[in-house]
Symmetry: C2
């Protein structure tokens, strides 16, 4: 099914690669677009959540009787309203899930494991009553000691979050419980031998803090469950089918019972791939038999949704004096939050993946701590591990006196390289992005006092997965596309463009919508930079099927055999014949009733062959040596997109990823007090970059086509968040002549290093 | 595409033919179901309509300047906001449309043609402001004489509604304008010769009054048009694709720009096949750039939506003394309302269609009058013409002393009969319903004083048409169906049942929804009794395609060739092999990701081969000779359903049709005053039957399979409204020994006949 015999790489393209207006643009600018909190239903209740005040405690009892008596309270739920599951790990795209954990994260069962952990939820006729009712729920806790950092959590005497959790992936199998959920290892060759062959070995430890995706739209949903168990759910999500899957399991529904419609999404970045409010709203609606709307406030988003891991990492790299890397080794210890599932696997996969190495090893540990369970965050795990590796690469370049881009070019992964996580790579753009960086005027621009330039590369593997979409040819020759992956980064535009290119009709005549879960076969979520690649593949396939049908109809109308008809520029054309004869798509569509009926096609497939995307970023920083403040002076993000369907969106992804990386590098961090309470639960204290913090991010799109997509697309959304962490740290190190090994590079930390080394 | 090689007529069925709970039942009972007026959007305006106070007038000027200045008024529209069109007739299922008329009916242009005709519409921030604004619109009219009845309108000196309208279908072509829009004629043989061979000729004139469908839910919609011309429309309709088609033309949109979602529908009966508020709401939203909600009140529904024709008809039938009909002739003059389009074509087609005749003619005239433009009403045109024919048949039976069922049996149409409108009929159930009537205990039950029994038959041809639907197999083995024809009479249930029967999975695991216009290929509307037949055909086809895919996946998993796998009872089964081996649909679905991806199928076709449905009704009436009141004592409706997928719904259709026919026969009528104003614009004065007016309607379902549907389905929704008019009139005639020739048989009319003959 994934056979792309008709290659488009060489063909002259009319729409793909251009920059048309986006289909969702006006609605977003005018405020008409409907986000998670923007829908209402008659008779709707408001849902609110009671959250744990403790970082770690046993739940002794929950008494809801007083709250139930409050007039206006229509339903109260606790863990008894959710299904329980035995422990079982199931892959879920880039991450793994264990329903035993999900049900406990959605609603605390035996224990609360972080401040903000959901303990109960209520639905009431208005917000005031809901808030009053929350205060009337009496929960008795036995407070337990808590642990927040991986280095504390892995100690043998650390408070155990899960009494029965044995480390997976170690030999011999452990006999006692631990906070270390899992060990993973990737690599090949003999690293010790490699190090012994090196002229220089650099070894360093790094620390990164927990950071949040910082999507502007909080989690929100509206659920309506009928007395016969038929449910409608409107929510802001990256994956309505995944939401259906989780919610049906958690609540004992089957998939057909829950129809999920994804709202417009105000940012997700991986954080809207899991469920928080959705199963609560459904459970409350089921109990109250009324629609229930729920919204998180910003503090709830920070404390009770899924940020990414803070981590401790150790990196060791050996090189010859000519820059040839002889071995790379790293150990990654990632915070999982309250339940296992840190993105340490992908972190370990990607750590050394930009390079073509013969001796390489990456070991990762997934360690539970009393923080919210982490969720995916843009290239989950990648920025952390590659920050460490790319920092050491830079240090090596300095030490051996080699240009950091030349050092990377010398070791760059290329077509045929065996990636540290196993596969032989197809065509990839590491060398091309490095060369584009080297050729870019930015790289040779003069620097001012207290300024320096940093460089780093990033690798992300990208994914495919199960995908379905459909196309309809309307009676006037316009076209409808129904897609199953929410549009986060412009997929409505890119899908309409690919269909437009194939059909030969203007993009403005093609309307792409995101369908509900009843209308399409399963779609894995918008994540893993898979939408343009995977959904695009199905759109091209179904469009080609529709073209086949259009040709058939033209053949019928002309009374010729199908092989006498070709499709050119939005028209059927008679191949042989005395005079040229064509029929437009609109003319064929108008007569579809007479030639067999409406024209519609769909494509459902498990899309494989995602192409890894590589990026190289250049950043100039200026360090204020009096205050420790780091300013970004100039920034250039260069990335291999395979093929940029809509270059402006690709540039937006590069810019957005870079800015999130800048925030991670410079300011963002979860700050906990001694009680395990998060102290910075708002955007005033949790500092994401605002416009005035960053210069215009310059971008360069490199195009090394992915042979497994009809237009050569690689996912582009995740890679650009990877290089900024090391690029900025390298620049700050170079500007100060100190090696920095801890993020964020916030003024106090930079100043301390400057003053105390 | 319509090849039904696998017949189900003989096969033992598990689900089809049973009576499971309806998928939409609970939501309708609890009030959760969302009808046309039940949806809201942020920032929504309310739309209101200014209507003509005159039955016929020129519009000299419309001054909206004062209304525009009122604070809170956001948009005002008049005819300048709509496209104009040249006159062109286009078939639209059972009816024809002319966009030149539609645009003028939606918004009066040069003239107003009936009281209630839309002249302007406004959108304002609340209802009070909207009402105030309507009063501030200054319309100057030149009032013209009006005409309400066909016998007045066809006179040469009648006021002309359309100065340029020439009668179509007459030879020689007329040279001057007329209110007679069209003449149609069906038939064959030589009726004059037939009458000359008759022993008895009966000739009679009949009058029927204009009646309304009386759907409980008024027209309502919610439109939202973005600044870039992308529109969403929620409305109560029988055909969201047809609404899209009309609205896109009227407003200069293309089809892809308007996404129409059909609400639950609170009755339509043909009256929700056209547009009234929808284009107004879209135009107001486009102008105001805000969502606009519009609802009709009941008076607006009566005066400004589309009831069916009142008519004058003349019928002449000749018979031999043995009951053999030698010729049938009729002339039908139907009110079109303000614009041509009376259902006189289908009326003429069906008039004599229950009979196998050699000399037959039916002539119809479509005549415009100053009443609202008629719309389809359940078997449009059929009840009127067949009322005349079936009344004369009864009179003949009395005159020749023959049982009225025997007379009909003697002349009954059957397989091979050439219908008066041309085609040779396939298997049909006229004889079977007559025999079932004769055998029914009702037919031989004793009658009391002032009571009598009437019988009548009815024929409706039914239609197919363009239809699309899709099926998805969810990852847990449950199933989603997306249908494009709104569920009026239980189609969600019947579609799920047919899919259940094919797949072999319980109906409860199959979720049928009505998709929006972007999600499916074109669907003609729910009308012409086509949904169970046409949509059912596509559902069976796409389900069989999905089964083919399921078998393929099983073959892959078993590593056998596809021909080694059969589908039995919801399982793939290995045909040969040492031991029986099966795999359930759910097991296959769970592994779909590994075997190629999600499973989805769709079917789009122009469905042909609708089977005509025949019904025979028996009614006992009692006439109160003092007051003229007619009471229905007992009622039995017998009809050929081909195959009743869900018999309870078919019975409901038979009962509902009978009750609407009873209302038409006994009480319902549009009553106009001298000014052309409708005097009975509410359900207190326009008297539809309530529960206490009718006995329990007994039903008998006859099943003569339609060979063109996989389960033998015929449409059943329309036929049952045809027989009641004549059956009741015949019963009243027999009870009183007077021939009644005018409807409704309301107490004053019956009393007048009893007293004055």
């Amino acid at each position: 099914m994934n056979d792309m015999t008709q290659t488009n790489f060489e063909r002259a393209l009319k729409i793909v690669g251009s920059r048309p207006a986006r289909p969702d643009g006006v609605d977003k600018v005018t405020g008409r677009a409907l986000f998670g909190a923007d829908k209402s239903l008659p008779n709707m209740l408001v849902g609110r959540v009671l959250r744990s005040p403790y970082a770690h405690a046993k739940i002794l009892s929950i008494d809801t009787s007083k709250a139930e008596k409050l007039k206006g309270v229509k339903a109260i739920i606790t863990s008894v309203d959710f299904e329980d599951f035995p422990s079982e790990f199931v892959p879920n795209g880039e991450m793994v899930v264990n329903m035993k954990d999900i049900t406990r994260n959605v609603m605390a069962r035996e224990k609360v494991l972080y401040v903000g952990h959901t303990v109960a939820a209520i639905a009431a006729t208005d917000e005031d009553i809901a808030e009053q009712a929350l205060a009337l729920i009496d929960v008795k806790y036995e407070v337990l000691p808590h642990v927040l950092e991986v280095e504390d959590a892995e100690k043998s005497d650390a408070p155990l979050l899960h009494d029965d959790m044995m480390t997976i992936g170690v030999e011999p199998a452990p006999t006692s419980a631990s906070n270390v959920a899992k060990r993973v290892e990737f690599g090949f060759g003999d690293v010790e031998k490699g190090f012994s062959e090196a002229d220089l070995v650099v070894e360093r430890e790094f620390t990164t803090q927990q950071v949040h995706q910082g999507y502007i739209e909080p989690h929100a949903c509206l659920a309506s469950v009928s007395e016969d168990g038929q449910a409608e759910l409107w929510c802001t999500t990256q994956g309505p089918f995944v939401v259906r899957n989780f919610c049906s399991k958690l609540l004992g529904f089957n998939a057909a019972q829950i129809r999920v419609t994804a709202s417009e999404i105000g940012g997700g970045f991986g954080g809207k791939t899991v469920v928080y409010l959705e199963p609560l709203a459904l459970a409350l609606s089921r109990k109250s038999c009324r629609p229930v709307k729920m919204e998180m406030n910003r503090a709830e988003v920070f404390t009770a949704s899924g940020p990414t891991s803070g981590a401790k990492i150790w990196v060791k790299i050996g090189v010859k004096n000519n820059g040839q890397i002889t071995a790379g080794d790293c150990i990654l210890k990632y915070q999982a939050g309250a339940f296992q599932g840190a993105p340490v696997g992908p972190g370990a996969m990607c750590a050394f993946a930009p390079y073509d190495l013969t001796n390489v090893r990456a070991v990762g540990y997934d360690i539970v701590v009393n923080r919210p369970k982490v969720a995916a965050y843009r290239a989950p795990g990648g920025p952390i591990s590659e920050y460490g590796v790319e920092s050491v690469i830079d240090e090596i370049a300095l030490k051996i006196g080699m240009d950091p881009i030349d050092l990377r070019l010398k070791n760059a992964a290329k077509e045929g390289t065996i990636a540290p996580y196993g596969p032989k790579l197809g065509p990839i753009g590491m060398i091309e992005t490095l060369e584009a960086a080297k050729d870019h005027p930015h790289y040779s621009a003069p620097l001012g006092p207290n300024q320096a330039r940093g460089v780093a590369s990033g690798f992300w593997f990208n994914i495919g997965g199960e995908t379905s979409s459909s196309i309809t040819i309307n009676e006037d020759g316009t076209v409808g596309l129904t897609l199953g992956t929410p549009d986060i980064g412009g997929s409505r535009a890119s899908m309409a463009m690919m269909a437009s290119e194939e059909l030969g009709v203007p993009m403005e005549l093609i309307k792409p919508i995101i369908g509900d879960t009843n209308s399409l076969g399963f779609n894995f979520l918008t994540g893993g930079s898979r939408a343009t690649f995977s959904t695009g593949t199905t759109v091209v396939e179904s469009t080609r099927e529709a073209i086949g049908e259009l040709k058939k109809r033209a053949a019928l109308l002309w009374e010729v055999s199908l092989d006498q008809v070709e499709w050119v520029d939005g028209h059927a054309r008679l191949i042989s014949g005395d005079e040229p004869k064509t029929m437009s798509l609109a003319q064929i569509a108008k007569q579809a009733g007479k030639t067999g009926g409406p024209i519609m096609a769909n494509c459902s497939m498990n899309v494989t062959g995602a192409g890894p995307s590589l990026g190289t970023h250049i950043v100039d920083v200026e360090v204020d040596k009096e205050t420790g403040r780091v300013s970004i002076i100039r920034y250039t993000a260069i990335q291999d997109a395979g093929k940029a369907i809509h270059p402006a969106y690709v540039e937006g992804q590069l810019q957005g990823g870079a800015v999130q990386g800048i925030g991670w590098a410079l300011n963002e961090e979860y700050i906990y007090n001694d009680k395990g309470e998060l102290e910075n639960t708002g955007f005033l204290d949790y500092r994401i970059p605002v416009c005035s913090d960053v210069p215009m991010i310059d971008t360069v799109i490199v195009e090394v086509p992915n042979p497994n997509h009809p237009y050569g697309v690689r996912g582009v959304g995740e890679t650009p968040i990877i290089p900024p962490l090391a690029a900025i740290s390298n620049a700050v190190s170079r500007a100060t002549n100190k090696r920095f090994d801890e993020l964020p590079l916030s003024p106090p930390k930079v100043l301390a290093k400057l003053m105390h080394g």
